[in-house]
Symmetry: C2
Subunit: 214 residues, 2 copies
């Protein structure tokens, strides 16, 4: 199946305009068929040995969102204190999640025991199953953007909080908690670039030829 | 920036027709501007704290490819022996890499010390930097498909082989080695599904609502 030049350009448009959204979520309802399309895109990510180790817990319950937000707030207070005073002051001005505002949360997990203990392609590199579930997150992120929805990855939270609130069994690994919803805008650049937290690296500085070259 | 319905459908076409390619690589040269576009897509993946922890080592040298293939062959022999006799027999019939045939290899790495020890968003979940580099792999995979190029992830190889052959420093983590090139065909379904290694899971079995439900 051939991909045309306009289809290729559409992919690049989605990739370059994808953002990590925290502040811009709107209360507008996301239709169920849109959510289903996004989850289907995630389910068609590559997976090691076709293991499909992922699960997706869709969170709409307000009380559960509030409990998750509480976990973030505690973890964020601890995190802020780890930076230098100057960086910490800048950190505290950033809004780093949209847990309660976003109409949907999606917790992505990885069942490392799915389909038995020996998995094709995971025999040497055990982390491949976790990496497969991360590929599902990235498919989801791009699908959301293509549906004109924003997505934000909340990483400043302990797995134990998500495990408790969402009743995730001990044998299931937690990859991440994503906020999903329509947005007031997609920023032209990543927020952390725009606000001077870190600059975009020159691409030539991350490309090497035939051997590491730094 | 709005994504139109036809642009959205183009993304889904790319996602659903992406394959892990092992057997179908053609010797056709991949133009440098195509490789650059694919790497730019990878460089625009999401990264925790805008850390951009990735590097990309582009491998075209035949001797290096042969050395990497040797590492695969040893690791694969060991891996095959881990399966039950029946599964091992099926395993041995699968071609699981295209290291020498693919015109390009790309080794993706993660520099966990980039931009200092404290990274915004990595304070609680230390694996977030590795996951960022995996998101770059998935962007690369989709960009390759959109350029009508195949990509295959070679995971049956010890990091130590790639580290030796590509002179990757000890402080740099290795995410994966990808083979890239034009292909004779993209299979209609994933090869492991087509050949009955494992079936595609029903998507309803991996979706939960507000709590784990199995």
């Amino acid at each position: 199946m051939n991909i045309s030049e306009s289809e290729r350009n559409a992919l690049y448009k989605v990739i370059f305009s994808r953002r990590d959204v925290r502040s811009e979520f709107l209360p507008k309802v996301v239709a169920n068929d849109v959510v289903q399309r996004i989850l289907k895109a995630a389910h068609h990510a590559p997976s090691v040995g076709f293991m499909q180790p992922w699960d997706f817990i869709v969170v709409t319950d307000t009380e559960k969102k509030i409990a998750i937000k509480k976990g973030f707030t505690e973890a964020n207070k601890h995190s802020s204190a780890l930076f230098t005073p100057e960086k910490s002051s800048q950190y505290n001005k950033l809004k780093l999640e949209g847990i309660v505002e976003a109409p949907l949360g999606i917790c992505v997990t990885c069942d490392r025991n799915r389909n038995g203990p020996v998995v094709l392609g995971r025999t040497i590199k055990p982390e491949m199953d976790l990496y497969s579930a991360v590929c599902a997150v990235q498919n989801m992120w791009l699908a959301a953007r293509a549906e004109n929805l924003g997505l934000g990855w909340v990483s400043i939270i302990h797995d134990s909080v998500l495990r408790d609130v969402l009743a995730i069994p001990e044998n299931i690994d937690i990859i991440g908690y994503l906020c999903l919803g329509y947005v007031s805008e997609f920023k032209a650049k990543p927020e952390l670039e725009e606000k001077g937290w870190l600059p975009r690296m020159d691409i030539d500085d991350v490309i090497h030829h035939n051997a590491w070259s730094k």
